[in-house]
């Protein structure tokens, strides 16, 4: 940080308490499967330093421009700004996109080759992340891809109006630039092929993804006009001709089903209905996407189960549904006699995907230097989870091939003087994302979200509580003068009689009931808005701000 | 002529040995079993032209005041003594220095002013003194020898007294003084016939002689005084001098501090620790102290403040008497600040009532202002004081174990007195403050709390009544004229009443050492039984009368005597007769 005093002591800590501090006090980072340093890059954006912001992202989650658009945003759900009474969570994902929009630059670290070869099967998010991480360690990485282009679900599963293709190209290119080789149109057909790969390489990683739609068993599935979510998207994305549609019913409450409805809108359908077993609250999709759907005129029908396909002459005419009743244990039960029909000429079942069961022969394991990663290992998940798994497996590969004893979490604690945040930032409203007008939403290619302009992204970044700054009072120096409590913007500093440590390592002050009990003045980092008022007010300089960053080092 | 009572006055300028003469005579008389009262009046200056007189009245029976007039004047300073001649009664005598003076005009010579009805005795005091000691000092002793002969006093008691007093100065001094005495005696013996004879009872037992200040000091020490802080001020210094000498012997201490503020401060500090502490001062000092007396009222700290009154206001008359400090003692404080005010009437009172003062102060956690005055404090008096060592009737009330659990320094009680522990004692702690506070002693400015606490402080003064020294009714119970007075004027008024009675006018008097609070019932009964009430006091305003008027709704005849000399019993009697005349008309 540029406001860091020269000559300050930077501490490296492996203390479990500090590690837990990060998990608890930086909820966004903890929620992120790949542990992106969210406050780090948001701080950089708030200072207008998009390049730093991009680099932080590039290092942590490999695909910043892509994830800046289509990430499932577990971070935003965890964001402290969205906690009770604190307003809306930060638009973290869109800020990531801003970092990529304005800070994109060549990522060309010096790589020392170690002359070990790794082959990765599948060029989806997991495979690409593994490839990136291993390439950076000096491995010679080759990716095999069954389709004509790399990207997997990124390219074929997600519609262009959400994720333009040049963005995908760019992020993939950034990985290939590290020396990763890719062989497209190469599909694993036999066990022998894998044996061969194992011979040629020091390790093989299977990142095959979940490319098969889950199917269900109701009558009439063979009618014309009934299709599966992933097939529908693949066809649409690969510009294969689809039959014209007017009334579309999509069954399912996940990302794919939402994409299908919106894609149907762009393909000219008029009446589009999304049906789901449960309620709106139970959908995994973010609120902003539901809003987009609503704006595009898509209707919702909740608490219904498909019961059959109505067809005429082999062509679908409607879907028969039955209404559901939620039981106390949150499971659902159909209500007898509540059947009804929704008219449709196209029915899309988007109820999940599963991995292809094509691994022949005996089960290969890490012992054989054979690793599995991504959705193929975990089942269908999100891009960020797949990338995280890719990274995890890459580490395992590296550990095995380079005899790493263990990975250790090291927390760098850097003292800083100012956070640069002020109380006024709390009153900046959530910056809404600009979207293209409804009239233009019939274009399949046109990205709906137009991205934050610079000033908007800076404003939004300013809202961030910068949870990675740890405010602590040195009890040995504190004179209990309450100056900090006097200037605190919210109820963030407590006169404490004790500090309670929960099982998960969270520390919080136990407020003293009266002055007699006061043992310490303690800053509640859960409530701290990092404005630094207390630091400035403290007459004896006993309040320290330190920036917590997490690194993982290899122990040989 | 035979005398049963004599009043002798020595007059001189400072340094003439006036005081020592009077001490010798009074001591001698007391040893001989005579009742003595000595009053010194001297100027504020140490040496130089300041005039000082010492009057000794002695009698075979009890003396209550300095009486009216003198029998003999010893004029050690010519010019200064002239004024004193008018006090000499018919047939009295003047002893003056007949040594050849340098150049002294007639108007300044004492002899020329002696009226026909007074006998003048010229004695070469200076010459004889030089003869005896080789210096002018000792003229007082020479004149004493002369006096001894002139009134036929027994020589031995004086010789014994001179030996006793000068013993510590060495044999030589004793000898030269004895010589001077003898020379004066002999000169007179040779020169003048024995015209007068003082008749005395040779079997009388020796009497104790004590001044009011001494009585206060000893009374206080005898009832447990352990700490005295003070600042020298006439006429209270003597008290401090005594305690300074005596307290260390009792494991106590006297400290002379930088001013009266510090004095009362230190007293409050000491009292805070549970020590019986006292200070003594005069009017100007009391003015300085009033702030901290207020604090002691508010914080409820015991303290005894002796005020030996002198003429005021401001520096006023440092060496003259006046009863002018009653108002400041009663009312001299910001806000409603009640305090106990006591006024002793004689040395015996001084001894006993200072002990009563401590009892009240300690038990009721309040300041007590003890109003002595210059006359009472300095006059020597024979009295039969029964020594009362370790007289501790009441002490501070300790909290019970139950009360200690949630100790409240200013707990509300029925009598207004909160149980008290002091620093160094286990169980609880507290802070005291001059700020308005709640029962715990913490500052509190709510009007309700303030009212409650003020009521509590005043309640003490109601519950105190049962512990007050009793009121005395003196004189004829059937008299129509009732008299009220306070402090040292009591003696003169008592004698005045006797004179009036002699002249056929019966009176009665209410004698109360307590000024505030008073046993109001007794006062009310007394005033109700009187047709006419006279209030005598030595100030211009009638401060006591004002108090009585406002408290008892009476309309007394107020007699204000803003005189700087002791009150004359004859004048008191005259006033009584006047009132009686009005009453009988």
């Amino acid at each position: 940080m540029n406001n860091q005093t020269p000559g300050v002591k930077i501490e490296k800590s492996t203390d479990i308490l500090d590690r837990k501090w990060i998990d608890i006090n930086i909820p966004c980072r903890a929620a992120c499967p790949i542990m992106t340093d969210v406050p780090g890059y948001i701080k950089a954006i708030s200072e207008g330093d998009y390049e730093t912001a991009y680099m932080i992202n590039r290092q942590d989650n490999v695909l910043p421009s892509i994830l800046g658009r289509i990430c499932s945003r577990p971070c935003e759900a965890a964001c402290r700004h969205g906690w009770d009474g604190l307003g809306d969570p930060l638009a973290i994902c869109f800020l990531k996109r801003s970092a990529a929009d304005f800070g994109l630059r060549e990522f060309a670290p010096v790589i020392k080759p170690n002359h070990k070869k790794v082959c990765i099967i599948g060029a989806g998010p997991a495979g690409l992340t593994s490839a990136n991480d291993l390439a950076l360690k000096g491995y010679d990485v080759t990716i095999l891809e069954q389709f004509e282009e790399a990207g997997g679900m990124l390219r074929f599963g997600i519609p262009r109006f959400r994720l333009p293709r040049d963005i995908v190209e760019n992020d993939i290119k950034s990985i290939l630039d590290l020396g990763v080789k890719i062989k497209t149109n190469t599909r694993i057909e036999s066990a022998a092929f894998i044996k061969e790969l194992q011979k040629q390489n020091d390790a093989v990683i299977l990142a095959g993804g979940c490319m098969l739609p889950k199917k269900l068993d109701i009558p009439g599935l063979d009618s014309k006009g009934v299709t599966w979510g992933l097939d529908f998207m693949m066809d649409a994305n690969r510009d294969r001709l689809l039959s014209p549609m007017q009334k579309v019913v999509v069954v399912g409450g996940g990302f794919t089903s939402v994409d299908c409805t919106r894609m149907a809108h762009r393909l000219g359908a008029k009446d589009i209905t999304l049906t789901f077993l449960f309620t709106r609250d139970d959908m995994t999709v973010g609120e902003h996407e539901l809003d987009d759907m609503e704006a595009e005129g898509i209707e919702f029908v909740f608490l219904v189960s498909p019961a059959g396909i109505e067809s005429e002459n082999g062509r679908v005419t409607g879907v028969k549904f039955v209404r559901n009743f939620i039981q106390k244990d949150k499971s659902i039960k159909t209500i007898p006699g509540s059947e009804f029909v929704i008219e449709a000429d196209t029915v899309v079942f988007a109820i999940g995907q599963e991995e292809e069961k094509f691994l022949p022969g005996e089960k290969l394991t890490a012992k054989d230097n054979f690793f599995i990663t991504g959705d193929f290992r975990t089942g269908a998940s999100t891009v960020i989870q797949a990338a995280a798994d890719g990274r995890k497996i890459a580490r395992q590969v590296h550990q095995k091939l380079s005899n790493i004893k263990e990975y250790q979490d090291v927390i760098t604690i850097t003292p800083v003087k100012e956070t640069g945040r002020v109380r006024d930032y709390d009153f900046i409203p959530l910056q809404p994302m600009d979207k293209i007008p409804l009239t233009e939403r019939s274009q399949k290619e046109k990205e709906v979200d137009t991205g934050f302009p610079r000033e908007k992204s800076v404003s939004e970044a300013k809202r961030c509580y910068l949870c990675h700054f740890n405010f602590q009072i040195d009890i040995d120096r504190c004179i209990y003068c309450l100056a900090c409590i006097d200037v605190m913007p919210v109820d963030c500093i407590k006169m404490a009689k004790d500090i309670h440590i929960t099982d998960d390592g969270n520390m919080y002050p136990v407020p003293a009931e009266n002055w007699e009990q006061v043992q310490a003045i303690v800053i509640d980092n859960n409530k701290c808005i990092r404005c630094g008022n207390c630091v400035r007010a403290c007459p004896v300089d006993c309040i320290s701000i330190s920036q917590y960053t997490l690194d993982i080092i290899e122990k040989i | 002529m035979n005398y049963k009572e004599l009043t002798v006055r020595f007059c001189g300028i400072a340094g003439d040995g006036i005081v020592s003469s009077s001490r010798i005579i009074s001591g001698a008389c007391a040893d001989a079993g005579l009742h003595v009262m000595v009053n010194d009046i001297y100027s504020a200056e140490i040496r130089g032209l300041g005039k000082s007189t010492s009057t000794i009245r002695f009698s075979g029976s009890k003396v209550y005041s300095m009486g009216d007039g003198i029998n003999a004047l010893v004029g050690l300073a010519q010019q200064e003594s002239i004024d004193e001649i008018e006090d000499i009664r018919e047939g009295g005598s003047v002893i003056y220095d007949s040594s050849s003076p340098a150049d002294i005009p007639e108007t300044e010579s004492l002899a020329s002013h002696i009226p026909p009805e007074v006998n003048g005795y010229g004695i070469p005091l200076k010459t004889l003194a030089n003869q005896a000691s080789g210096s002018n000092r000792g003229r007082n002793i020479v004149s004493m020898g002369a006096l001894c002969h002139l009134y036929g006093l027994p020589k031995t008691i004086f010789i014994n007294q001179i030996e006793k007093i000068f013993k510590r100065k060495g044999d030589k001094v004793v000898e030269s003084n004895l010589t001077a005495f003898e020379l004066g005696y002999e000169y007179c013996q040779n020169q003048y016939p024995l015209n007068n004879l003082f008749v005395m009872d040779k079997k009388a037992k020796p009497l104790q002689i004590i001044s009011g200040n001494e009585a206060v000091a000893h009374g206080a020490m005898d009832c447990g005084l352990k700490f005295f802080a003070g600042y020298p001020i006439t006429p209270a210094t003597k008290i401090m001098e005594i305690t300074a000498k005596e307290l260390p012997k009792l494991n106590g201490w006297t400290i002379q501090v930088e001013d009266e503020i510090a004095a009362i401060g230190a007293v409050l500090g000491a009292s805070f620790t549970g020590t019986r502490a006292m200070t003594a001062t005069a009017g100007p000092g009391l003015s300085l102290m009033s702030e901290l007396i207020n604090l002691s009222v508010m914080a409820e700290i015991s303290a005894v403040i002796v005020n030996v009154q002198r003429g005021g206001p401001a520096t006023g008359l440092p060496t003259k008497v006046e009863q002018g400090d009653l108002n400041i003692s009663l009312y001299g404080g910001a806000g409603d600040s009640p305090r106990v005010v006591m006024a002793p009437t004689c040395s015996k009172d001084c001894y006993t009532s200072i002990q009563a003062a401590f009892d009240l102060a300690e038990k009721y956690q309040t300041p007590v202002i003890f109003l002595s005055d210059l006359f009472l404090g300095q006059r020597l008096e024979t009295d039969d004081i029964k020594r009362n060592i370790n007289y501790k009737k009441s002490t501070r009330i300790k909290p019970t174990r139950q009360q200690l659990k949630n100790y409240q320094r200013y707990a509300l009680t029925e009598d207004g007195v909160s149980p008290l522990i002091v620093p160094g004692e286990d169980g609880a702690f507290y802070s005291i403050t001059g700020l308005a506070h709640n029962t715990a002693g913490n500052p509190n400015f709510e009007s309700e709390v303030h009212l409650t606490m003020t009521q509590k402080r005043f309640r003490k003064f109601k519950s105190m009544v049962k512990d007050l020294p009793p009121v005395e009714i003196i004189g004829d119970a059937d008299a129509d004229i009732g008299i009220a007075c306070w402090g040292s004027t009591y003696g003169a008024i008592f004698e005045g009443m006797q004179i009036a009675r002699h002249n056929g006018v019966k009176t009665k008097m209410i004698k109360s050492i307590m000024i505030y609070p008073q046993d109001e019932e007794s006062f009310k009964t007394f005033f109700a039984s009187c047709k006419k009430i006279i209030v005598f006091e030595m100030n211009f305003q009638g401060q006591y009368a004002a108090l009585l008027k406002s408290t008892y709704n009476i309309k007394p005849v107020e007699v204000h005597i803003p005189s700087v000399d002791p009150v004359s019993p004859a004048k008191i009697a005259a006033k009584i007769m006047e009132v009686n005349h009005e009453l009988t008309q």
Binding site: V8, K9, E11, D15, L17, D18, W21, P415, K417, I473, D474, I475, I479, Y480, C481, L482, C484, D486, I499, M507, N514, W515, E516, V518, Q519, A520, C538, P539, V540, C542 | F227, K249, N251, I255, E258, I261, A262, G265, A266, V267, L268, G269, F272, T273, G274, A277, L292, L295, V422, P423, G424, G427, F429, Y430, S431, I432, T433, G434, L435, P443
Partner: protein, 286 residues
């Protein structure tokens, strides 16, 4: 500026818990947040707890002013007296009961203003009391008027054209009066304050702690910052045993020295009293 990790905070708390066990009375100090007096309050407490002075023997006397509220915040006996009159009262307390640990707390107005006349005599008597003079160079409780230690030129409510009178230096005064323990501390340094107060409490005789305790509300001239710029430490070889040298250091404006200026050991008032008692006892016996 050091960073603090969580463990350091916890350890600090443990230390605080040991130190602060039964720390203060259940009355929240009435001072403005940030007031330097808090340091003195803490320092006094830490020192008292370190020295294991029992609460029953702990007496704090104060005058009027912001410092005057001290007695209400400590666990011990307190005497909130009148303006400037704390020293005489402490004198009485200490003479009457030498077993007590007597601490006088006063401000600059209290100590060298209205109570200035008592100061030399308290020093002169050399009673074993500790005087903590909290110097903020302003009359805070009356909302900002010049005090005896305010600099020349200071604009205040009562000196709208600037203060003409020159400031008093309490440290110098105490040295000149002959105090046997003189130290100057700065409220910013809690550890130093407690250390020196501890030393002062241990010292036999009158000890002065001159605490530069900025007023955060009314004094815009003399602040934590302004003091922080001028304060300095004694040279390492400084031995606090030379009054003349101490006076030189005390007068220094640049830097304003912090620490122990002088420490002398001479018999205290109570020592003398004890000796006199002994003497009287022996003469009475003989």
């Amino acid at each position: 500026m050091n960073s603090l990790n969580k463990r350091a905070v916890l350890e600090g708390l443990e230390r605080a818990k040991i130190k602060n066990k039964s720390k203060w009375r259940d009355i929240l100090p009435t001072w403005c947040p940030g007031c330097g007096h808090f340091t003195a309050l803490n320092g006094l407490y830490e020192a008292a707890l370190d020295l294991k002075i029992p609460e029953k023997n702990f007496v704090v006397v104060s005058g009027i002013g912001c410092s005057g509220r001290f007695p209400f915040f400590i666990k011990g006996f307190g005497f909130h007296a009148l303006h400037g009159r704390a020293l005489p009262i402490a004198t009485g307390i200490k003479i009457a009961n030498p077993e007590l640990t007597v601490i006088v707390v006063g401000g600059d107005g209290d100590g060298v203003g209205i109570g200035g006349g008592h100061f030399p005599h308290a020093v002169r008597n050399n009673l074993d009391i500790t005087y903590i003079l909290l110097d903020n160079s302003i009359y805070g409780l009356t909302k900002g008027q010049v005090s005896p230690t305010s600099p020349v030129g200071m604009i205040s409510g009562t000196t709208p054209y600037g203060n003409i009178a020159r400031p008093i230096n309490p440290t110098t005064l105490a040295l000149a009066y002959g105090a046997t323990f003189v130290a100057r501390v700065f409220s910013r340094e809690r550890q130093d304050v407690s250390d020196l107060i501890k030393q002062a409490l241990q010292h036999k005789g009158f000890s002065l702690i001159h605490d530069l305790s900025p007023c955060v509300e009314f004094n815009r001239l003399i602040t934590y910052k302004s003091w922080n710029q001028v304060v300095g430490k004694f040279p390492e070889d400084y031995k606090a045993d030379n009054r003349t040298l101490a006076l030189q250091y005390a007068e220094s404006k640049e830097p304003v020295y912090l620490g122990l200026f002088l420490k002398e050991n001479i018999p205290t008032f109570n020592d003398h009293v004890k000796q006199i008692f002994k003497k009287i006892d022996s003469t009475e016996k003989s």
